[in-house]
């Protein structure tokens, strides 16, 4: 890897690059899925290549290649330089990078059991046991999946950095779907979107107890078919930690991406309502709300030692007791404010340009508990597990649906309700938050489908979250 990187850096500088960095990447992904008691697919994907990024005449150029031989690397370097020169003709202002020290380092995700060392037999046996647990009358589709990722990368720059990292991810999950009488109801465990995934080893799967939760979600899916519709009106809303995590992702993670604020994503992902003159002044949420970007959080999908610009992992407060205090930044965007980079730049793969991405955007734990929140709620709903999500391009107007809900009356869950939706405006919503559960109910969750950038990049990001309560929220059935 080092020889490839050195050759590429040399070739780019010979071609005229004033700055160059590259990532030499080897990535292996394994997937096991079962459906309705049968193995659906067992597959392995190996991906290898090199991405080279240059600055020439103040403009960026990027090229990706799978050819690791001398002529291949030289061609990629020349192409990146040519692209940068073409871009420079229509660039607005020269790119300036915030300083970052040259680093030589190695990092490997702490793993107790390598997920690739666990036999397929064991994986299939575990999924089939969970599938059998979901096999109850009324459930029409049962699915289970296990996934493992090993991402081995060398980052090298013309400033002297050489950083080798191996990130290991392990995940798994179940879905039970029941159909009948004009309804389709699904329940997932531990999270929606197919599976819960973390930077850790097979121990994550052993802790999940998939089989032990299969029966519960299957029963819930069937019960939802005949449940009453979610009540309608403005009421108290309590979210489970998984839905709180997605709420943080959409309404805090994305709007604090500084490239969105600067218009880089205006034609696609959108912009942000959080403008720089609001920093340190804007009351984003109540005092119960503190949200950090923490690339050092154990097990998060945004956990690493250095980002894809060679900047060290950091913890930054985005929202401090309700006050808007920080952005997710890159070397380029931070330089515009004469600040150091926050170290949040990542690329999906070798052939994609590194962009500002969420690391682990964590809702810090409070002091309450779900039981206490419910016990002190006169009228409201408790909602679990995302089913639908949508938010406008400035990240203000949102509507979420969850798989399941319970109506709360006089401090008790009184009945199951189906098809719940809630909607609101981001600052109004977070300012209505009056309780966040404590550390014992705070968990790290993985989002494996975060899309951004063109060409599109799907990133794996983390969210530590705990159940939380909001007052006077618009709730209704779908």
């Amino acid at each position: 890897m080092r020889d490839i990187a050195n050759d590429l850096l040399d070739a780019a500088q010979v071609a005229g690059a004033q700055y160059v960095d590259c990532r030499v990447v080897e990535r292996t992904t394994q997937s096991v899925t079962i459906k309705n008691g049968r193995v659906n697919n067992v597959s392995q994907f190996e991906d290898a290549g090199v991405g080279v990024r240059v600055i020439v005449d103040g403009a960026w150029g990027f090229a990706g290649t799978q050819r690791a031989d001398g002529p291949g690397l030289e061609a990629a370097a020349r192409l990146a330089v040519r692209i940068a020169k073409a871009s420079a003709r229509t660039a607005i202002a020269p790119v300036r990078l915030a300083p970052a020290p040259a680093v030589t380092a190695q990092y490997v995700t702490p793993v107790r059991i390598d997920p690739f060392s666990v036999s397929l037999d064991r994986k299939i046996e575990l999924l089939l046991a969970a599938d059998a647990a979901m096999d109850v009358a009324g459930v029409t589709t049962r699915q289970g999946s296990l996934g493992a990722v090993r991402h081995h990368q060398l980052f090298a720059s013309s400033e002297g950095s050489r950083i080798e990292q191996t990130i290991v991810e392990t995940g798994g999950g179940l879905d039970a779907t029941a159909t009948g009488d004009g309804e389709v109801q699904s329940r997932s465990f531990p999270n929606s979107f197919g599976r819960q995934q973390l930077t850790a080893g097979w121990e994550v799967i052993e802790e999940m107890d998939l089989a032990g939760n299969g029966r519960r979600i299957a029963d819930e899916a069937v019960a939802l078919l005949s449940a009453d519709l979610c009540p309608q009106g403005r009421m108290t809303l309590i979210l489970d930690a998984t839905q709180a995590a997605l709420q943080v992702h959409e309404s805090c993670g994305h709007p604090t991406e500084l490239d969105r604020v600067l218009g880089f994503e205006a034609a696609y992902a959108g912009t942000s309502f959080l403008m720089p003159d609001m920093l340190g002044k804007f009351r984003y949420g109540s005092e119960a709300v503190t949200i950090s970007a923490d690339a050092t959080s154990p097990r998060g999908l945004g956990t690493f030692a250095y980002d894809d610009e060679g900047v060290a992992a950091q913890r930054t407060l985005l929202i401090d007791q309700g006050l808007f205090t920080g952005y997710l930044t890159s070397r380029e965007t931070a330089a515009r404010f004469d600040e150091p980079s926050g170290g949040t730049v990542r690329a999906e793969s070798w052939n994609r340009l590194p962009l500002i991405r969420m690391t682990n955007i964590n809702l810090e734990p409070g002091v309450s508990s779900v039981e206490e929140m419910i016990a002190t709620t006169e009228r409201g709903v408790y909602l679990e597990t995302n089913r639908s999500w949508s938010i406008d391009d400035r990240r203000l107007n949102f509507q979420f649906g969850t798989q399941i809900g319970w109506e709360i009356r006089d401090g008790r869950r009184v009945k199951l309700v189906r098809n719940p939706l809630y909607s609101g405006s981001t600052p109004e919503f977070w300012n209505s938050c009056d309780a966040v559960a404590g550390p014992s109910e705070w968990h790290m969750y993985g989002v494996i489908n975060c899309g951004k950038g063109q060409p599109g990049q799907v990133m794996h990001v983390g969210h530590g979250a705990a159940p939380c309560r909001f007052r006077n929220v618009a709730v209704r059935p779908a």
């Binding site: 697919n41 392995q44 202002a93 779907t177 639908s388 949508s390 060409p455």
Partner: protein
Amino acid sequence: VTEALRSHDELLAMAEDILRRAPGGAEAEVTVTETATALTRFANGGIHQSVADRSLRLRLRLVCDGRSGVAEIQTTADEAAQRLVDTAESIRSRSPEGDPVHPIHPDGGPDSEIGYSPVTEAVTPEQRADAVAAVCIAADAAGQQAFGTYETTATSMAMMSTLGLSRAARHSVGELIAVCRGDDGSAYGARHAVDASSIDVAGLASEVTERCARNQGATAVDPGTYEVVLSPYAVAEMLEYLGLVGLGGLAVLEHRSFMRFGERLMSEAVTITDDVTRSELAPLPFDGEGATTKPVTIIDRGICAAVVHDSVTAARSGVPTTGHSFPQPNSEGPLPRYLCLASGESDPASMIAACARGLLVTRFWYVRPVHPLQTIITGMTRDGTFLIENGRVARPVRDLRFTQSIVDALCDIRALGSQRLASRGYFGACLAPWVHLGHFTFSS
């Protein structure tokens, strides 16, 4: 600017080499895909990102003794073919016995390349920069700033199997997307073409700057149910979601689809097809199993006619595959790739003139299913939403959230445009006209 994509013969030779290494007695299916992508992004009136990459992907599916294994490698390394075979066989041999999906026999379909242009593959970084500059200059002249992308993609794909399958095809797409922003509002437009040189850059710049000039100083309008005049960009988004939630064979088999065959669920004006013969959609002639993709009439004058199939759902449904498979095995099932809504005889000006009070919508954004079986989706309007009063566009309005059943909306068609626009879809492309709907619900 870079080497051309490998020829069909080269890709088929690579596939044949992999097949030759496959263990004896196994059914083997090989897919070799090479893709070249180049994309220039612009923001605030200038280029800020520009990239190019090329990737070669090899996929092998082995089936033998009731066991199946799949391996994929994205590399040009010399040892890739053998490693692919070894990995697939290792997985296959360690998988439990079951009832795996088998590769299909060749169906004799043609490998026509109606969706490919070598011009698109050859577009240079300088040509992309020139097109972007033209949009930026037009925006600047209108007192606006331009944002967007100019992307070219060319893909070459070959499939071969031990059952005699051997086919290859290419397709290409050029796409220019422009968003212009003024002091207090923005507008969107896009063009999609097999031959990137046919994209009318000046025409797109004119469309978007004119729309942006009209979309300044938007004021709020109350949520509620309105007549709507939807641009093809918005209609395409709606069609794509209809396809996702209900137009695949697996959705029907799993009782997740709204389709009730033989029943009229929409206006007689609605005919929806999946049409692989439309060259402007840059179609590939076969699917992820190597089956020939066939044109399918899905909604015939409002009546539910058919859904798309792969070999698995086709067998379970007792019909032939329509050639809409993702690579097998998969849990998603087949989905439409080239959805087309039939045109009518109207045009946007006539639709607006016929609307007493309604909303003119340029684009939907962040659309997600809320209740798939009832085809209820939610999303936002974006980059150009206008109030129509007494047959004319009265003023721009702030973006609204809609929550609406697609089938219900398509029951109340007032008019369809005579011209259709091609745009990118989730798995292929989409062809849609302007549409005037009698009601559409905006929830906040």
